[in-house]
Amino acid sequence: MSYIEIKNLTFSYNEKTNVLEDVNLEINKGEWIAVLGHNGSGKSTLAKTLVGLLEPQKGEISIDGLVMNDEFAYEIRKKIGIVFQNPDNQFVGVTVRDDIAFGMENLCVPREEMLEKISFYAEKVNMLNFLDSEPANLSGGQKQRVAIAGILAMQSDIIIFDEATSMLDPFSREELIKYIKTLHQDGLTIIMITHDINEALLADRILVMNKGKVYAFEDTEEIMKKKSIFTDSHLELPVSLDLANALTDNQEYKEIREKLWEYALMK
């Protein structure tokens, strides 16, 4: 049984059009999944149903064997954390320390333990020197890192990034990606919703959503070879991969193709 299982998931806000339609997914522990899709393809809705913020009309979500319902939502949320797009709107605490503590406070973690975990995880996202800082004095990237620390402190092992880099400057974005890579190496399951195909290339598997349906869900290297998937979903491949795909399977281009792939994945 997979770590995250989604079966026949259907969701609609107004019962007329389905934002999610019959979504079936299986995600393994420790995998890095990138979710791509045009605006309104249901990416964010999928994320919200996964943490139980929205209740699907049909279907079932189970995480680590727990089925999402009113009874287990609390338990499931311990395992899964979500970093939202706007760094400001998820910063609950008055200081960095308070914000990292917020989730643990809700879980009734004793104060001594909280203090230990706060320094440990603040260190991990390189925010230890900012524990007493107020959000107004932090950059967007720093706030997103605080959000990550808050989730890690709750001992969650799945983190969803819901376009978490889209409001950051290029430097902070790259930095955040670096932290996500370390999280992946530490064995966390990562679901990264993004508009940026270069970011998606870092994932193990890519899920392409189109009009609320799973359009494709394949290994990164495989899916990148199928240009039609992306054009159908109004997405664009990086130029280097476009070029690699355009070169025929001829043996003499093999080396160039490999170089282009390497180049694209390095980003």
Partner: protein, 321 residues
């Protein structure tokens, strides 16, 4: 927008900084009650002296407290003036013949204009105001020549009026000084937490002090963010031709609406996202939570509380005697 200071808190290390917020709130309340029990001028002066001694002990700059008094200064001046003019009990202390002639009127207008101009140029506005008031008094008293506009009248100050105005002003001064000490030395978050703990017993009558404290602390946290946003919207509207500083009242009102409507909409959107973020981190309203910021009563707090109870006891004894 990094310099917004919420509340009056100024970081420091004096005695009052080390007290538990609960102690400070209780002490301020007790001393306030004591101040209202005082009856004679001597007692009030001692009270004022005590307040100043407290400031000195806490190493709080008196200048900062005076700054904190500024918004209330006008209220103080008006109570003072009204008490003096309207209270007509007791013996007369000052009796001054006053005249109102054409020259008086001319001089008054001149004095007013000079005051307004200087007001824009000089820093010490309150001193200036008092000089202006004194000038008006002198003009009314001594300019007795020129065409008569009104009959001469006598301006009397009565003992009770003077005493009452003194009472009101000194009482307010003490109370404001005390509350300024509280807000200067306590972080807004600590203050809310102190209030939360003190109001905890009210849970029995259905008042959820924890949610209340959370609401306050989130509001405090979002003030700079929303301020920032207001600035952005103002710039955006200004670039579309809105003018927030000029125009008639009606135009100004319309401009303000162009600021308020987007701000409300954005605030609602924010709050929804915030609610999602909080819920995804397992927040359940009304559920038991542990706290990262704990309050601790130390021996210092016990001494301070006993001290303020003693002040109250003293005030009660004085009142009864």
């Amino acid at each position: 927008m990094k310099s917004i200071i919420i509340g009056q808190y100024i970081p420091g290390k004096g005695l009052f900084y080390r007290l538990d917020p609960r102690t400070k709130i209780i002490a301020v309340l007790l001393i306030m009650i004591s101040v209202f029990l005082l009856e004679t001028i001597e007692q009030l002066l001692i009270g004022l002296a005590t307040a100043i001694v407290l400031l000195l002990i806490g190493k709080i700059s008196i200048l900062k407290v005076i700054k904190g008094l500024k918004p209330i200064m006008i209220l103080l001046i008006f109570t003072f003036i009204f008490q003096i003019i309207l209270n007509r009990e007791g013996e007369t202390i000052v009796s001054q013949q006053m005249y109102f002639t054409g020259y008086t009127l001319l001089l008054l207008i001149l004095a007013f204009i000079v005051w307004r101009i200087l007001n824009k140029l000089v820093k010490y506005r309150f001193t200036l105001f008092f000089l202006f008031a004194a000038g008006v008094f002198l003009i009314l008293s001594y300019v007795d020549f020129g065409p008569k506009i009104a009959e001469p009248f006598t301006f009397n100050i009565y003992r009770a009026g003077l005493e009452m105005s003194f009472f009101v002003v000194v009482r307010l001064l003490i109370i404001i000084t005390l509350s300024t000490v509280l807000t200067l030395t306590t972080k807004p978050t600590d203050l809310t937490q102190g209030l939360e703990k003190l109001m905890h017993p009210m849970k029995k009558i259905g008042f959820d002090s924890e949610s209340f404290a959370l609401i306050i602390s989130i509001s405090l946290r979002y003030i700079p963010t929303i301020f920032d946003e207001a600035n952005k919207i103002m710039l955006a509207q200004a670039s579309r031709g809105a003018d927030f500083s000029e125009g008639k009242l009606k135009d100004k009102l319309r401009q303000v609406i162009s600021l308020l409507v987007p701000m409300f909409i954005i605030a609602f959107m924010r709050s929804e996202e915030l609610a999602n973020a909080m819920e995804s981190r397992n927040f359940v309203p009304g559920e038991k939570r542990t706290r990262i910021n704990e309050l601790y009563f130390s021996h210092r707090d016990i001494i301070a509380t006993i001290f303020s109870f003693l002040i109250l006891a003293l005030a009660i004894v004085l009142k009864v005697m």
